[in-house]
Symmetry: C2
Subunit: 302 residues, 2 copies
Amino acid sequence: MSTELELKQYFETCVDRVDTVIDYFLPPASTESRLQEGMRYATLNGGKRFRPVLVYATAEALGADPLKANHAACAVELVHSYSLVHDDLPAMDDDELRRGKPTCHVAFDEATAILVGDALQSLAYEVLATESSNPAHHLDAVCRLNMITTLAEASGTMGMAAGQAIDLASEGLSIDLQQLQNLHSMKTGKLIRASVRLGALSAGCKDPSLLLQLDDFATNIGIAFQVQDDILDVTGDTKIIGKKSGADAALNKATYPSLLGLQGAQEKASELHQKALMALESLDHKAAPLRSLSNYVVTRTY
Amino acid sequence: MSTELELKQYFETCVDRVDTVIDYFLPPASTESRLQEGMRYATLNGGKRFRPVLVYATAEALGADPLKANHAACAVELVHSYSLVHDDLPAMDDDELRRGKPTCHVAFDEATAILVGDALQSLAYEVLATESSNPAHHLDAVCRLNMITTLAEASGTMGMAAGQAIDLASEGLSIDLQQLQNLHSMKTGKLIRASVRLGALSAGCKDPSLLLQLDDFATNIGIAFQVQDDILDVTGDTKIIGKKSGADAALNKATYPSLLGLQGAQEKASELHQKALMALESLDHKAAPLRSLSNYVVTRTY
């Protein structure tokens, strides 16, 4: 997978696949239930599906049929979506635009947005606990429990929720590179690591040293993802990135470009990409999509 | 267990037990982390622990060591607590007082309260997925997955979150008894049913007809619980019930007393209690705490 076109096609295949699974598990669209409508609005919205693609690509890199990772890919996207809905709330980041559309609380109302997030989170665990309807994709009970633990740990007080709390607490404060890295490791890094781990678990991987290498890979692309996000906030086009550019600077938020300069941030991203590739050295050609994803992280324009 | 004193002691034992488990699973108190402080504030707050007591009493009724239900009791209370924190938010019920103390968003802030709820929810699933540290209380992986499914179904779009959405949507509207019952069956009934089911699963129960009888019991006390809540909102003392009495009438909410009259509501509660007892007919003296709980539901004064 050396060309941009091939990666684009790979993304499209994964997006179609995970969207079908998300659609299957979501409650049916109902004009009578704002909650159900809101859940669909917040998830089936043309998102990049970066985390599900990571789940699938990891399962494939380990030689598994990627369809075995369907539930994992769906669950991690449900958690990611719930976190976006809650992060966008007025009491949090107060964002009105997400993926180029009004945020959930703007399109519906705040109460609905809170409940949409809550219900998406519980659905994620329900999906992981559910056995695949296709016997060829069955995962044993212990494996499914490991996935639930992985996702819950990445979401809670040692992960995403804690990261968002630190982010809010440090708004307007001057923080250094180490603190910024710690914040993002919690806020976005843990869920990216969980995505890779979920892919590996879906593939039945139990090799501790391989799991550690994959963790290392995920840690590096997790940071790179955030560095690139910060870079795009400076250089990106509002129309393309789907949210207002320059928003971080306006909020006086510490970012990689503000701490390292734009060129310094770009060098950092490239260095993280190299480290990520090194972590995959022991894997064969089946890891091509995973390698391309690392490249995508630091070259993407939205 | 025929006296009020015995039930009081039973409650105290269960409260001590579940509070120890909750304390064990919560992140340590930290003055540096408002999130962690908020999670403790929202859970270790002298709550009645009605749902954990139900979990323990059900496990006991089926002849199991109640300690086998520790994780289930903890998880259901974490979900209940998260729902209270979110329900109290300004965008939802906008309550300032809970269990006689300022609500979480008043004591901390709205963003923290949203994240506290989110993190409590993920912790609940982490707790259910975790094997007991005591080998005598181990539950097999399939049993733990069933518990996760049970809790997630009760919390999400077919349960608690949906009930709260319907509740908000019907504020100020005139709804009939059937709609009120449906609303409460979702909003509080499902989690009460899940508590009983979790207790039964902790006890290793796989007998479908027994599980159905227990469901029937739980459905009846679930409705009775809400009827009594509505009665207390009319007759209760703000100091004793720990929240403002008359709040429902002020909000023009449909309640059992507003639809049936106060006496009608009291008769309804008593009738539900009788039905609940009938559902337990096949169980022996070990179900005494469960029977007392049904009585408690319709006689409690707070």
